[in-house]
Symmetry: C2
Subunit: 527 residues, 2 copies
Amino acid sequence: MADVLTQDETPAARGRRAGGGREAKRAARSARSSQSVPYITRKIPYYEVLDEEGLAQIEYNADTILEEVGIDFRDDAEALEIWRAAGAQVTGERVRIPRGLCRKIVQDSAPREFTQHARNPERSVVIGGKNTVFAPAYGSPFVRNLDDGRRYATIEDFRNFVKLAYMANSLHHSGGTICEPVDLPVNKRHFDMVYSHMKYSDKPFMGSVTHPDRATDTVEMAKILFGDNWLDPLTGKPKTVVINLINANSPMTFDETMLGAAKVYARANQATIITPFILAGAMSPVTVAGTAAQTLAEALAGMAFVQLVNPGAPVVLGSFASSISMQSGAPTFGTPEPALVLYVMAALARRLGVPFRSGGGLCGSKISDAQAASESANTLIPTCLGGVNFVLHTAGWLEGGLSMGYEKFIMDVDQAGMMHTLLAGVDMSENGQAMSAIREVGPGKHFLGCAHTQANFESAFYRSPITDNNSFEQWEAEGSRDLTQRANSMWKKLLSEYEAPPLDPAVDEALLAYIKRRKDSFPDSNV
Amino acid sequence: MADVLTQDETPAARGRRAGGGREAKRAARSARSSQSVPYITRKIPYYEVLDEEGLAQIEYNADTILEEVGIDFRDDAEALEIWRAAGAQVTGERVRIPRGLCRKIVQDSAPREFTQHARNPERSVVIGGKNTVFAPAYGSPFVRNLDDGRRYATIEDFRNFVKLAYMANSLHHSGGTICEPVDLPVNKRHFDMVYSHMKYSDKPFMGSVTHPDRATDTVEMAKILFGDNWLDPLTGKPKTVVINLINANSPMTFDETMLGAAKVYARANQATIITPFILAGAMSPVTVAGTAAQTLAEALAGMAFVQLVNPGAPVVLGSFASSISMQSGAPTFGTPEPALVLYVMAALARRLGVPFRSGGGLCGSKISDAQAASESANTLIPTCLGGVNFVLHTAGWLEGGLSMGYEKFIMDVDQAGMMHTLLAGVDMSENGQAMSAIREVGPGKHFLGCAHTQANFESAFYRSPITDNNSFEQWEAEGSRDLTQRANSMWKKLLSEYEAPPLDPAVDEALLAYIKRRKDSFPDSNV
């Protein structure tokens, strides 16, 4: 697995700049081997923490919640009518769903996996099955970097992160509301966000969910972007080209905004991720099994609702579950309990037969220090071993999602790169077994120069572009920089080298015209 | 799972100092729930990356290495004679061992698990099976902290780390050469190291392996320490009270120092960890499967040797495998390939039926920054999921083992604490399922005050004593400290509060007398 970012911050490149001939050759070989994949298809087994009996018990409990406790569908008469027609018991806004009904609805029509098309077909991703798709973090009002500290995000920051995600080999997706461009009016910023994804990247992206009208704008802009490719000639239905985050208001509540957006996307055959957003202890019980049962109940209700609105529309089971500090009530991330929830939920999604979204590089730390790194790793590794299909929040997340970090983004991209190697598993080919090397070298010698090592030089070992493995003396001579400082150099270098993917000027004009017309049609507002 | 260190750096404790009544009650409850276990018995499954066919192939390849390539046993005529008598083909110092012989020797007599007794019986650990024992890092010539930067280690540092390990609930073991006391002569510092473990801790510890005479000194001091408890009345054999690190000189070589120490310990029924020390690409092939086959071959040869010396002596299969930078040749840690090796080796040890040592909190970073934290997590999580029984290098490791970090130690202890919770798995009791909470709270409410939350308040969620989850504003008001700075405060506080476990003064005098007599019997030397 080669570098996930540019090659030029590697020790080899530093050697090359210093004129090293051998190092230069190595760097050239390394650069040739640099490649990206549109998404990961895992070759290692899933890790599961619960046995059949435990998983079945949680499924039973989820059905008990749906049948006896019920789910509130708020301020959406149509939703209540849909549920009544499907056989649920509706009392006020409380919907109680007979045991097994949600599962049946979902399994009858929801796809086990689906393709989210990118405008560049080589970037299209398959969500579900053995596949993992890494997307940037989502939703922070602040950004942070070493130069400015923490400040409110702007559309310029948003564009920067779209560009950085586009350049990152280990990210497969452009994400959605990477950060909130708070310099733009609340009711119009979705135009600029969606346009930025379309213009500055050719990776798949996410749509607006903050109002049904904004979901409709997303769909209309996608129609313009995809043009003749909007409809699938085989099915006559729209291709799935946006994926959209529909959070439950846990516990056991969906609100009209999310329901409205979900309906718009479902009817346009676009994908929705139904995600109970849970800080256990506040929005669910303090236990893993209780949180998992509630998450499954809420997700089942949301996914079944989407299937009732448009059977066959792609839907993803989402789980965002973290814990809180029982001392202060503050949310905590990267602790062991959310990892256990993740493993359980991933197994439950597989049993249900739907794609799964969870995890990422979550942390509570305010800065990209060791706390941030530990917490992120404690989330990202379970994400990969557990089998998450769509990984929102892979890169950039700081401070419980309140802040998007430039340096953190670069560090997380590197970790995501390592996960490509981990998920590729053990090469058991004859070359992988390497018996020829062991026979050639023998006791007491070294392997650096042997034929097998030379033949596998380019692909051997994941290469991080930002970690420092030089000697203490060399590291000190180069300024004793920590990882954050090296990442700071990296994102600036990347932004300075960014080149936009080509976009048909006619499409670009049409998008801008649509945006102008729509923006002019109603006044700015910050609600 | 309660705090792994003192309670007093928690937000609750800060609240208490500020006079908060409710917070004070919480802190008191939290302190009551603080408890340690002598070692962890896992309740979650193992993670394995290879199937039966892959593992069998690696076992076959290991036997091919033993039979066809052979292992060098250097400068030890007795070892060669032992192998000849066992049926190996000995040519010069090259020992070629018939297919299956090592496995048979090990399986005939090596225990699947064993107890390492501590002088405090409540601290004795069971090594093997479903158990995990966390020990500090081992072997660094330097120490590092925020105050001094990096400097050579002294016996004072050594004692400090013994004290810190003694106070750390999440470490079960005092370790061995935690850092090299370079202020003491090379040929006598083992007395002070072993004595420090005996005096300043009552957890189990490791012996000296740098010369057979020093191994003998360790055994003699252990006899004094354990006195009437040295011999097991049931077997008449010495109890196993020290565990000792016997590294192979990879590739495929054992030297006289290690063989000599191994013989001393085996004959005294003390435990040895046979560990091929491998930086893949230099000391083994660049591939995971090749490195695993070579590691298994070397470990099998070493373990079989120990069993030939004294059948039934406790022995552990060790694997220390990391990678190198193919650009610079520098060792790298926390990369994905060593994690894959670890998962494979853990499975192979289980198939063989011996305890397994690997992993820890390894990193290449010079400082306790985000690089150190990511790399350490990328090692520690596989350590726990893969099923390592004896985890050397759990806490303190920096710079590829060249430096022992005071702050890093505290940070690693916290991560080890989290692993206790992870390894405890999912509570599927009625209380764990928490349906009463979900029924009580219902849609749209919060769980903070419900009866179930109140009843589980003390034990809910792992509590880190050093992470900061407060609001940005509060964190900033408290000085915008990073994790390293908070860890710096913590180790100083712990050392200031340290109280030695009681030691019979007569035993202490006897130990000191033995050391004086032995030290006076030969001149100081630094070789």
